[in-house]
């Protein structure tokens, strides 16, 4: 089966006055039809920038300097900006953390949704509206006709995020990139959104790339996971494999520091130190300073080793 999205050795660097920031450095993964891939990392790990690179939304001084982004076998990185624009919002769509940034506050929902359809398809306004209605119903919005005539400020945070999702799915894309879409929402609303997204992927076959810092959301939603640290994927594989038997010291540290896994009141196992500046990475493994298993050999950054669908970037992995 061919993957909907196949990213190979993607590199995206920022060329700043202070130096080159390797925000995304040799990142490879694939998402299959109906598949849900979780991309986990802390702030500054490059997980959002990976999403932006796939969408072609990287602005100068950032630039894709290497690698391939294959969408249904077609390389996006070598496309002209205009060709990429035609795919964006049609074949690939993105959902952002803050729906108020996605929605234009002075336009009604119907204007914004119909625009998304007409930008890519030569259909009448009425049939575009019919598609919008259908998309709103799919994300669980009651009385879509009424809601289409409302403005974004008349919606609650959870409803706005549903509208943003509806805009993303209105053209039935092959791939949806979701960048922390539930982080700003309450637990019960988050549960509802996760439920809708899961249902959508199962029913329509859309592939989903879910970017988050929250391992527990990934555990409940995704089937594969990539863990990012300082611009690189340090470990990837199926959710069960990676979360139950982490082999990279960073992955294990992350899992262990989640409070709900630990006995209440006991000190949490903690990762010492903090994420390094991407400007001062040097040649050694980026996690070396914080790692309890660091060796002399870690002065040279490890390369990703693959076994089956599992990858690992560590010179002294856990057994």
């Amino acid at each position: 089966m061919t993957a909907v999205l196949d990213v190979e050795g993607l590199r995206m660097h920022f060329f700043t006055k202070a130096g080159v920031v390797r925000a995304v450095d040799d990142v490879s993964f694939r998402v299959e039809r109906r598949g849900i891939l979780g991309l986990v990392g802390e702030s500054g790990s490059g997980k959002s920038m990976t999403g932006y690179s796939i969408m072609g939304l990287v602005d100068p001084p950032g630039r894709i300097v290497g690698g391939r982004i294959l969408l249904n076998g077609r390389d996006l990185a070598s496309l002209e900006p205009e060709a990429w624009r035609r795919l964006r919002g049609d074949r690939i769509a993105m959902i952002f953390q803050d729906p108020m940034m996605t929605l234009n506050p002075v336009l009604r929902i119907d204007t914004q949704m119909v625009e998304a359809v007409l930008a890519h398809h030569d259909v009448s306004r009425d049939s575009a509206l019919a598609r919008c209605r259908e998309a709103l119903a799919q994300v669980g919005i009651a009385s879509p006709d009424e809601r289409l005539r409302a403005y974004p400020h008349q919606f609650s945070g959870g409803m706005r995020q549903r509208v943003a999702i509806a805009i993303a799915i209105v053209n039935k894309p092959d791939l949806i990139i979701a960048d922390e879409p539930t982080t700003a929402l309450d637990v019960t609303i988050q549960g509802q959104i996760l439920f809708e997204m899961q249902k959508l992927c199962r029913e329509s076959g859309t592939a989903l790339l879910w970017i988050t810092h929250d391992l527990s959301v990934i555990a409940g939603l995704a089937d594969h996971v990539c863990v990012m640290y300082a611009g690189r994927i340090v470990e990837s594989g199926s959710v069960d494999e990676v979360l139950d038997r982490p082999r990279h010291p960073y992955t294990r540290g992350l899992i262990e520091s989640v409070p709900s896994r630990n006995e209440p009141g006991r000190p949490l196992p903690q990762l010492a130190g903090m994420t390094p500046s991407l400007l001062a990475l040097g040649a050694s493994c980026a996690f070396r300073e914080r790692c309890s298993r660091a060796l002399e050999a870690c002065a040279e950054a490890p390369v990703a080793e693959w076994s089956g669908e599992r990858s690992l970037r560590c010179r002294n992995p856990l057994p």
Binding site: D186, T188, Q190, H213, G220, L254, S257, R261, G265
Partner: protein, 327 residues
């Protein structure tokens, strides 16, 4: 039982906006005066014992932050009383005894003040420390929260999120409080940094014999830190119980829903069964039990009568009419 350190009884807080110019003109012309009022808190009781950690959970708009601010005397309640039974420092009353740690470590530190001033200002103003000993006192305060004291001349922007959190905690502890109100104090931090700050809270509690009112929407954090949990929904307490009991046997339908919605690392590819609807607006709360529009078990009485918080097991109290039927 000894008196709790801090007792809040029947706290009600309403926010309303004074009429603006247009509204006053409209009123003068004979329009009916309609003031929109936010019912943030509605008859809430809360007690925090000596050295006790009380976790306060709820979703946005449930009034948990307002309650925390009333506990710290940043806000005055519209109705109800606040009783402090702990020791007080001379001259300052109980003002210094309860301090607050805020959510956003970026917005809660003055960007134009150096750390030494941020942490050292209050103890000097309140006469706890002579001006000449300020620096050594700040150095001590920073070391207590695990920071390098030589950094005290720096400004907040020179620190990372985790370090700023520590500065916020050092500032709160500088006036030697007995109770810390932590309002989402770890919510803005990355997982690995969050673990470091949570460990700091646990250590400080033992070293300084502190009590905490720990406000969070994150049930994992609450479970880890608290002795007792208070669950709020739309301005009212719906359930309170010792932490282990609450997580083992949640009674109120809202607590049950909340616990079942929480994603966990050890639960894989689950099928989400969402609870219906959204939190109603505190501008216009529903009559009867506030949870009834979303409750799968709601019946006629829930729409009319407000359920009282009743003891259902030792230490566990819940506000639900269902408890009276099943008996």
């Amino acid at each position: 039982m000894t008196a709790p350190l801090l007792a809040l009884r029947g706290i009600t807080k309403r926010f309303s906006r004074p009429p603006d110019l247009a509204a006053r003109i409209a009123q003068r012309l004979g329009a009916r005066a309609e003031r929109t009022t936010v019912h943030a808190l509605d008859g809430v009781d809360l007690a925090v014992g000596d050295r006790e950690v009380v976790g306060l959970v709820g979703e946005s708009g449930c009034g948990k932050s307002t309650l925390g601010r009333i506990a710290a005397r940043i806000l005055e309640p519209t109705e109800g009383e606040r009783v402090w039974n702990g020791p007080v420092q001379s001259g300052a009353g109980d003002r210094l005894a309860v301090q607050m740690v805020f959510q956003d470590p970026y917005a809660s530190l003055n960007p134009r003040m150096r750390v030494v001033d941020i942490v050292g200002e209050a103890p000097v103003v309140h006469g706890l420390v002579p001006r000449g000993e300020r620096e050594s006192y700040v150095a001590q305060a920073l070391e207590r929260v695990g920071m390098d004291a030589t950094l005290m001349r720096r400004f907040p922007h020179q620190f990372s999120g985790g370090q700023r959190s520590r500065i916020g905690i050092a500032r709160a502890l500088a006036v030697r409080p007995r109770l810390l109100v932590c309002d989402e104090a770890v919510a803005a931090l990355d997982v690995s940094i969050q673990a470091q700050v949570l460990n700091l809270f646990v250590r400080l509690r033992e070293e300084l014999a502190l009590a905490y009112l720990f406000i969070s929407h994150d049930l994992g954090v609450i479970r880890h830190l608290s002795d007792r949990v208070v669950v709020m929904y739309l301005g009212r307490v719906v359930e309170t119980a010792p932490t282990a009991e609450l997580f083992a046997r949640p009674n109120h339908p809202y607590t049950q829903a909340l616990l079942s919605e929480v994603p966990r690392v050890d639960i894989r590819r689950r099928t989400y069964v969402p609870i219906r609807g959204e939190i109603p607006s505190p501008l216009d709360p529903p009559p009867g039990c506030h949870f009834h529009p979303r409750c799968p078990h709601a019946f006629e009485r829930c729409r009319v009568e407000v359920p009282a918080l009743r003891e259902i097991a030792p230490g566990q109290r819940s506000a639900c009419h269902l408890n009276e039927i099943s008996r």
